[in-house]
């Protein structure tokens, strides 16, 4: 992104107006952050029930709700399910996307343009249209309530192919030629020359793939049945049905779901912003 840290734009108005603007932006940011704070406070307020009054200072702060989630309820298993599934989805998407990106940029073949258009066209299809048939396919394959059943529909990502295709296009072809003169084939060139240069793209897609899987709800809801297979969003939805007014428990569950993504975001912020902003520019 040009100009981001450097020059800055002309100020919107006078120094006074700048101060006012800073105030408004600060209040807005506080309002945006408040739900996170409130969730955290509620999760450690063990006495919060139907009758309890909301309060910024938790009465009897304790970690009972978290203890209950991990001892009486299977949240340990649930977190591992979510982590494992998200990790596998991420690795698959990066690999399949990088391979396809290489094919589209470095391996000329007949019908390449049409196939790439067919890839892009899938972005026009809303996922909900595919819900019923995908479920039927998994049922026929005997993959309902299994890890492969959750994972398989998201091993390829057209967004990822798009990212890698652009990134590979930016790698100078001289590097390929040099490797080819050394006798390297396409797999060696891909693995040892191109892929090591695609760190930022890999990071961007990894964050989006992990986030998408960690937060996804509709497909796991359809395909997973038993309690020990549940991912975090499913377990949270179940928690809500079972412990409607145990707000400390519900908020503790939300914290467990939200905090890992916030940490990943804070470390990989630049890649997330690049991915979102890149989507808006041609």
């Amino acid at each position: 992104m040009p100009n981001e840290h450097s020059r800055g734009r002309p100020a919107l108005g006078s120094r006074w107006a700048q101060g006012l603007l800073f105030g408004v932006v600060s209040v807005g940011a506080a309002a945006m952050f408040f739900p996170f704070l409130w969730t955290l406070i509620t999760s450690i307020s063990s006495r919060i029930g139907v009758s309890a009054k909301p309060s910024l200072i938790p009465q009897d702060p304790s970690l009972d709700a978290y203890r209950q989630l991990f001892t009486e309820l299977p949240f340990g298993r649930v977190v591992l399910n979510s982590l494992g599934i998200a990790f596998i989805v991420t690795v698959c998407q990066v690999l399949t996307s990088a391979l396809a990106g290489y094919a589209f940029m470095r391996l000329p073949f007949r019908g390449r343009g049409i196939i790439f258009a067919a890839y892009l066209a899938t972005m026009m299809v809303p996922g909900q249209v595919l819900l019923v048939p995908q479920f039927v396919i998994m049922k026929d394959l005997g993959l309902v309530d299994t890890y492969p059943g959750v994972i398989l529909p998201s091993v390829a990502s057209v967004f990822g192919v798009f990212l890698f295709r652009q990134a590979i296009d930016a790698v100078p072809r001289d590097l390929d030629e040099a490797a080819r003169l050394d006798g390297a084939g396409h797999f060696r060139i891909f693995w040892q020359v191109i892929l090591p240069l695609l760190g930022p793209t890999t990071a961007t897609l990894s964050v989006f793939a992990f986030m998408g899987s960690w937060n996804s709800f509709l497909w796991p809801l359809v395909i997973l049945r038993s309690r020990e297979m549940q991912t975090l969003p499913l377990a949270l939805a179940g928690l809500q049905g079972q412990y409607t007014t145990h707000w400390d428990l519900l908020m503790a569950g939300s914290v467990i779901s939200i905090v890992p993504m916030l940490i990943i975001y804070l470390f990989a912020q630049k890649y997330v912003v690049r991915g979102v902003a890149g989507a808006g520019l041609k």
Binding site: G8, L12, T39, P126, E177, L218, A237, L281
Partner: protein, 300 residues
Amino acid sequence: MPNRPKPRNRRQTLRYGLTVAAFLLPSALPLAAFVYYPLGQAIWTSFQQWNLISPQKWIGSDNYKSLLADPSTAAVFWHSAQYLIAYLPLVYVFALGIALALNSRLAGRNFFRSIYFLPVVTSWIAVALVWRWLLNPNSGAVNAVLGWLGLPGPGWYNDPHWAMASVVLASVWKDTGFVMVILLAGLQSIPVEIEESALLDGANWIQRLTRITLPLLSPTTFFVLIISLISGFQIFDQVYAMTQGGPADASRVVVLEIYDLTFRYGQAGRASALSMMLFVVILAISVIQLRGQRRWVHYA
């Protein structure tokens, strides 16, 4: 094809074909198996009567006819439209305001950008629980604040008139950061020199905003409008977890109806027909906007 020596014989051609396949199939096969094949199946299923278990029965266009005659079909599309009518202006105005502020020489703008973006990375189910707690009619923080201000707190997700407003409120909170980052990228692609020369010409900030910034931002605005409309018709998680479509079906949206028809009422054929109608609506939005775009978008 400058960088590849032309294959000389059949064996080399075959070898090259296998190489292309090895690079392409890991993504092409899943897309074929889990997008194209199911899309065909969805079209086919929409002409069947089927409860997912017993054999399918061909009933022609009956699913479509009965959906079109059923007032609840119009209702679910109308609820999605209601959501969009409230959501779009709110999310755009907030995101634009923040993006404009963060695009100026504001102290701590990277910090603010991080804060505003935080909700984007969270899970909708977790966020829905959080907002049910914030909007809880009896002990929620929002009604407590309204109480201090002397305003009556509505019943939010328990009140048919406020259920969709609850969903909109949570969605605006969650999505503002996403729209802001896209708008910010659009603002940063406007050459600084244009604004500076307007400044030299004595234009005040309202003139600069309405005559320069907003027109030059219109391609980005257009992009935001398209993706918001398309994703707005596809909302599910927040409605499922905040209102279950209630009370009294007041917040029942298209995708929730597709889900319930399939997995609660065993009407997979009807659900597929409804999903095809959703598909057509989404395609129509894209086409109408692609045409309208030429009239009002100024590409820089």
